[in-house]
């Protein structure tokens, strides 16, 4: 932000236009956000039952990827064990509905809390581990949990549990629950990573020793992050069980859940808060469009993953931002040139634009 009012006055018209646009952008974005939330909130009025189911699944993908991203992206703890929390959430709500007689919403919250409690335990065990050791350890825990559930007769072992038919919710209720969870998850995570807590988390991720020298104690930070991440995943697991009405270990604790979270986050952009949302849309669209040829679908997903990690490892969302900025810059410099201004002004304009963009980047 080094443009003084005096230098701004000398800018070419195009650059001024671009600058005012980028100044307006946040407000534009807020407008769009408002419209989107309104549109989503009114969903059941104009969406068919099937659209509601689609949206329900999409919202859950977004929630789970967003939560994984908190630990895996912002926290740098590449968990391969998050399926554990989906399963824990699903089973908690099923057990409570069958045995407790508590109201459904409370059951749902408890399913998130149990997942968080499990995550705290897991964190106590695993947090000493770094990098690949943590990944393998979390995978081992999740697999151990799966094999335990396959043998635990209280939860029906391999046959699993069937929710009481009375727990059947209609599609618009499920839709609102998933939407509410998504909004809550996203808000929590967006605020969290921009708080001092989030800064500490990222400092630990980037260099744990350096952070320790600055007096940041990594353990509680990681522990809380793990618990929050698992809490939201557990809630999503509870919702999934409410939709499916029938759960068994192999699908509730399926490795596919964590795989999906990772794919979505990587495609969209790891350690960004919009990335998982965008990634979920891309992944889900691919899945739906190729419903008829599953082989092609997973082949393309795999190739997309390899391409992205090789060519744009930061993911699609940062890539889109970068491209957008380049485009803007190119436009500005071309318009400026045609308006026969000096290169110096164009450069100044570019500088201004870049300063602005980097500020709202990250």
């Amino acid at each position: 932000m080094k443009t003084s009012p005096a230098s701004a006055a000398r800018l070419a018209p195009a650059a001024t236009w671009w600058r005012s646009l980028s100044r307006l952008a946040p407000w534009l974005g807020w407008g769009v956000l408002g419209v989107l939330v309104l549109l989503a909130a009114l969903g059941p009025l104009y969406l068919s039952a099937f659209d509601l189911v689609l949206a329900f699944t999409l919202f859950n993908y977004m929630t789970m990827a967003q939560s994984w991203n908190l630990l895996g992206g912002y926290g740098g703890q590449f968990s391969l064990g998050h399926s554990l929390f989906v399963g824990a959430g699903s089973y908690t709500i099923a057990v409570l509905l069958l045995h407790s007689g508590l109201p459904l919403l409370l059951d749902l919250v408890l399913s998130g809390l149990l997942a968080a409690a499990l995550a705290t335990l897991a964190a106590l065990l695993l947090m000493r581990l770094r990098e690949a050791y943590f990944s393998i350890g979390s995978l081992g825990l999740a697999m151990a949990a799966l094999t335990w559930m396959l043998n635990w007769s209280f939860t029906g072992a391999t046959s699993g549990l069937n929710l009481p038919p009375a727990a059947t919710l209609d599609y618009s209720t499920l839709y609102y629950l998933a939407l509410g969870l998504l909004v809550a998850t996203t808000l929590t995570i967006v605020l969290l990573v921009r708080s001092p807590f989030g800064l500490r988390l990222m400092a630990i991720r980037d260099d744990q020793e350096a952070a320790a020298e600055l007096g940041v104690n990594s353990f509680p930070v990681k522990l809380v992050t793990f618990a929050i991440s698992a809490f939201f995943v557990g809630l999503a697991g509870g919702l999934i069980a409410l939709n499916k009405l029938e759960i068994e270990p192999d699908s509730a604790f399926s490795m596919n859940w964590v795989i999906t979270m990772i794919i979505i986050t990587i495609i969209g952009g790891i350690a960004t808060s919009t990335g998982p949302l965008l990634g979920a849309v891309v992944f889900f669209t691919l899945q739906q469009v190729l419903q008829n040829s599953q082989a092609l679908s997973s082949l393309l997903t795999g190739l997309l993953l390899i391409l992205i990690i090789r060519l744009a490892p930061e993911g699609l969302w940062p890539l889109a931002l970068k491209l957008g900025r380049r485009l803007g810059e190119a436009l500005v410099s071309r318009l400026d040139r045609s308006g026969s201004t000096t290169t110096a002004t164009a450069l100044a304009a570019e500088e201004a634009v870049r300063g602005r963009s980097t500020l709202s980047d990250g």
Partner: protein
């Protein structure tokens, strides 16, 4: 402020994507002249081998009715559109796809997938959307226990496990053994249910469970268990396990020199891959089924010939094809009887089914299940032949040839 800016700006692209999704999301739906039925089947993944047989059976029945000018409902002929999706043998996908078929493709009814882990979640979807589903391959007790309050829209045509497990001992009675049984089951739901039943029934037939092994799906090394079965001197071997595990077990029994007189391989030997993977070692394995060439129900021999032409050669595989064909016909008859495409009316009409189909007579009980008669087949010379109830010209080979 920058937080806010970023979050807000981020949403712009999301909005564009959401809009494009809405724009692209085609609407399924059916014209006046078309009636849609659907199926989510395991066409890839672990259960694919049988998924493709059911698909062929469903498709053949639909092709036949369309060739005959369509399905006649209340004086009007409807073209039948069968929509099949591949659930990759994954229960979560099967559940999602069933929802898609009912709500997006507007299917009036669904035909079932394969085995309880897939049939049960799809049945739950049927109950949720209140449209009918006719399934097979889900053993009745396991299927019924998944919804203690009773199924309203889901129907099942398959064995009753109790009759099937009793049959194992009736077959063993056909030859002389020491009546000591080694029982191997995996911990999947059918393995658990049937393992329990075999254990309960054995004493009633004068058999002892001399050794019992339970293990997770995907177990590879069975040396210890085989040694134990050998040490227990068990001459009757009963197994209920997935094809890969069963094949591993058979190879290892051969290598370690365990020679049971009777060797039953439920689930494991249910397709020709059994013989392809094991060669001669697979000979003599027993497996329960619901149809064989000795059955002369109307149309069944013709269907078997058609299946043969389509490359489905073993009797046990043709049975899957014929079952698929038959339950599709059950659905067609119900739609005709209902005189409308209203799912409620169709559901009621399914309950009134009482007719002999190529696979045999079908008539549902008040619990929505139709138990079919189980028979025992044996792999002999690369083909499955009926050995129980006994038919002329075929005899039970014992001791099991491949393991001898």
């Amino acid at each position: 402020m920058s937080t806010v800016c970023k979050a807000a700006r981020s949403l712009f692209l999301m909005a564009m994507l959401a809009l494009s999704m809405v724009a692209c999301g085609g609407t399924g739906g059916s014209s006046n002249q078309t009636i849609v039925i659907g199926a989510t089947l395991p066409l890839t993944g672990a259960l694919a081998a049988v998924g493709v047989l059911l698909k062929a059976g469903y498709q053949a029945a639909v092709d036949d009715i369309n060739a005959a000018g369509g399905l006649e409902v209340n004086g009007q002929k409807y073209h039948v559109n069968l929509v099949i999706l591949d659930n990759t043998s994954d229960p979560n996908t099967a559940s999602n796809q069933a929802t898609t078929l009912y709500l997006q493709n507007n299917a009036v009814a669904l035909l079932g997938p394969f085995t309880p882990p897939l049939v049960i979640p799809v049945s739950q979807v049927a109950e949720r959307v209140k449209r009918p589903l006719i399934s097979t391959t889900a053993p009745i007790e396991a299927w019924l226990s998944a919804r203690p309050s009773g199924w309203q829209y889901a129907w099942d045509v398959f064995f009753d496990e109790k009759q099937q497990t009793s049959m194992s001992f009736q077959v063993a009675n056909m030859v002389k053994t020491n009546k000591r049984v080694a029982l191997f089951t995996d911990n999947e739901e059918d393995g658990v249910t049937m393992g329990k039943l075999w254990t309960e029934e054995a004493p009633q037939f004068g058999y002892t469970i001399a050794y019992r092994a339970i293990f997770p799906v995907g177990t590879t090394n069975f040396s210890s268990q085989i040694a134990a079965a050998k040490a227990a001197n068990a001459e009757v071997l009963i197994t209920q396990m997935t094809p890969p595990d069963a094949m591993a077990l058979w190879k290892q029994m051969k290598a370690l020199g365990y020679h049971p007189t009777i060797a039953e391989s439920e689930k494991g030997s249910s397709t020709t891959t059994w013989m392809q993977a094991l060669g001669n070692v697979g000979e003599g394995a027993l497996i329960a089924n619901f149809w064989s060439r000795s059955f002369n129900y109307p149309g069944s021999q013709e269907l078997a010939a058609r299946a043969q032409k389509a490359g489905i050669k073993a009797t046990i595989e043709q049975a899957g094809y014929i079952m698929g064909y038959s339950i599709t016909q059950v659905l067609f008859d119900a739609i005709k009887r209902a005189g409308s495409t209203d799912p409620e009316a169709i559901n009621r009409a399914i309950g009134q089914t009482n007719k002999t189909y190529p696979v045999g007579p079908i008539h549902f009980g008040s619990n929505h299940a139709d138990p079919v008669q189980a028979i025992m087949l044996q792999w002999q010379n690369g083909e499955t032949v009926q050995v129980y109830p006994p038919v002329s010209g075929v005899s039970l080979e014992a001791p099991a040839k491949g393991l001898a």
